[in-house]
Amino acid sequence: MVKSKETKKTKYLNPYLGGVLLGIVLLAANFVAGRGLGASGAIKSTVVTAMTTVAPSSAEKSGFVKEFRESHTGNPMKTWLVFEMLGVIVGGFLSGAFAGRLKFKVEHSPKITSRKRLLLALGGGVLFGFGSQLGRGCTSGSALSGMAVLSLGGFITMMAIFGTAYVLAYFFRKNWI
């Protein structure tokens, strides 16, 4: 059976409807667990686990691990955000499968090579990872979830993230447009 090209490209959800649904998910997180959504927290859990597994003695002396332990008891992988992020991977995959978007590819502007895109993705990831620790959460945990509970810090971090990206957008325009 020959599938027409139209069925391959499923349209995205209306953004306002997507926003309301995402808001309901965030509300559910607060109602169930008394905390919002997050992403970088799960990475922190993994890094803490790796550090305490590979070099237990020096890890226990690290202020980073100590600070994590003050707010988390027990196994760092048995935390809310780790389970939530495992769900994100499953949910994203299911959505991509339903919409026919499952495909291995490097997405980039035709003006740059895949190699350049991957190097920039790596650099961007390093910066975002570092910044999310300093800012106590990323776009999900600090900005979005913080705004929903009216946290002053959440609003400040949101403005700093989007403000900086707008200021720097000109210099990175070839990578996207």
Binding site: K9, V48, E107, R117, G131, L134, R136, M147, A165, Y166
Partner: protein, 196 residues
């Protein structure tokens, strides 16, 4: 009643199971909205695709209003809900570093996992970068813990800081968001779009 886990209405393991279910909803909605595409995400900074702005602010407002109404109906005790603490210096500096990472990498942590889940290789590399970044922060912690802990203001609400009630602030935020949505719709018409 809520939050269920804090009021011990559900067990710790049920809470973790629900975290997984909520995560599925999170990932599903992100992907359905197009957040698995870095070029779609970056579009908000050039005006050719403002889906990020629309989804992000609609979600924040929906959850904020939901919490305020749930509290009004007595369904949730907002005093038990975690409010992100405010460390002024690190909130700003961390946000600036994240903003630079966003425009370079095209993803944020949540959306990169979403992109990776449908096979975006640039998202996998971005996630690799995230681990490196968090690890660098961890091993060098003593170098920046001064900045990390500076200017601690407690966990103030922005409505308190501005001297407004939560309801009035929420109303003003909705008006602001509607104005931004109007600008966003205008920008999408003005700047050319392409399918990607």
């Amino acid at each position: 009643m809520g939050p269920l886990a804090i009021n011990e209405i559900i067990s710790e393991n049920t809470n973790l199971f629900l975290a997984f279910i909520i995560g599925i909803g999170f990932g599903f909605v992100l992907e359905q909205s197009g957040f698995s595409s870095s070029r779609k995400l970056a579009g908000v900074f050039y005006g050719y695709d403002t889906v990020v702005l629309k989804v992000f602010f609609t979600a924040a407002i929906t959850a904020m209003l939901g919490l305020l109404f749930f509290s009004l109906f007595g369904w949730i005790d907002l005093k038990l809900v975690y409010i992100n603490p405010t460390y002024l210096t690190s909130a700003i500096v961390g946000g600036i570093i994240m903003g630079a990472g966003f425009i370079m990498g095209g993803y944020c942590p949540g959306t990169s996992f979403c992109g990776a889940s449908i096979g975006k290789l640039d998202a996998f590399v971005f996630i690799g970068g995230l681990f490196i970044g968090v690890f660098i922060f961890g091993i060098g912690y003593n170098l920046w813990d001064g900045m990390y802990l500076a200017k601690f203001l407690g966990s103030p609400k922005i409505s308190e800081t501005l001297g407004l009630t939560d309801g009035v602030f929420a109303f003003l935020l909705i008006i602001m968001a509607l104005a931004m949505f109007w600008v966003a719709e205008w920008a999408e018409k003005k700047f050319p779009r392409e399918e990607y």
